[in-house]
């Protein structure tokens, strides 16, 4: 998860700078991507919480 979010973080910063310049539709795609990114995170957290294994 660290590697995924570390790499994604860089792309998000690039999006953050140009957020005002790009149309909102394009930003919605990024937000959708961010939302989809939450799915593996939720799964990983569920597994970790189930086993209480951090």
């Amino acid at each position: 998860m660290f590697v995924v979010f570390d790499v994604v973080g860089m792309f998000l910063f690039a999006w953050g700078i140009s957020f005002r310049e790009i149309p909102y539709d394009d930003s919605l795609l990024v937000l959708l991507f961010l939302f989809l990114l939450g799915a593996p995170l939720a799964y990983a957290l569920r597994m970790a919480l189930r086993r209480e294994n951090w």
């Binding site: 660290f2 910063f13 700078i17 930003s27 951090w54």
Partner: protein, 343 residues
Amino acid sequence: MVNLPTTPADVLPFIIAVVTSHTFITIVFFPGFIHLVIVVMFLTWYERKVLARIQLRIGPLYAGGPGGILQPIADGVKLIFKEVIVPYKADKPLFLGIPLALVFLATLPFAVIPFGQHWVIANLDVGLVFVFAMTSLFPSMILIFAWASNSKYPFMGGLRSLFQQVAYEIPMWISALSIVLLAGSLNLSDIVNAQQKIWFIVPAFLSFIVFFIASMAELERLPFDLPEAEPELVAGWYTESSGAVYMVIFLALYMKLYLMSSLITVLFLGGWWGPAFLPQPVWFILKSLAVATFIIIPRGVYPRLRVDLLIKIGWSRLLIIALANVFLTVLLLSTGVLSAWGL
């Protein structure tokens, strides 16, 4: 721009021109190295005094004038003259070199931290990423130092430090993303200038909370000081350090404390902006020291977390809040709620 000397007679004017140049003053004096060393010395004394006050003690008293103000100098002199003990079969070059690298990594980000409109050494357009890049090298350096010590306590402390900083780095980045969205820039001076009308702590309060907690974890400050938990690991990853090596490590750690306080000031507290009766750098330093105070206070108040809880909070609480806050910031910007403040 200072021209290189072409004749021997030009050497002295050249040296005077270099020494009195703005670049030289900013690198060497303020906000450069001498200012950092003085602030770090002050912070070591200040932390003791604050903790003593919390625990109804007096704190440093005898060295120097009022309140033992010269205690940091007394400590420095003592540590310099103590023997540096290198453990048996330790990797000597790494054991002695990594503490210097830590100071280097803690000092370098100050080159892009703006202490005032004209008080910045290098006004980088990717200043925020540069600061994160430098601070994210800390865990690897700590683990190398711990491994080089050839001792089990430092190595376990080094591993804990790595896990902890990995778990809290991502929430820190994501919470800073809200600030990038609000300011539209990675340049730290631009971020401060965007806060002329409203400090970002107001529209990005959740980010501030996440960033502050993650900073404390990055700094290994109580209640997140697992890597140096005394009852379990003696002194954690720097157990085997002594004398000047110990002093240099502490210099790096307190510089990092000042760095994170300065970064919070830049990102959330309006940087150098303040009423005009004080110069901009004074406002900046006062705000940074106020943030440092709030980072220091939990050391005298809170107990240490358990390892599993520590990692759990980072991944399952702070990251979720930071991600949710990105959506909230986008919503605030899209709906024009913040347009009254020029955002």
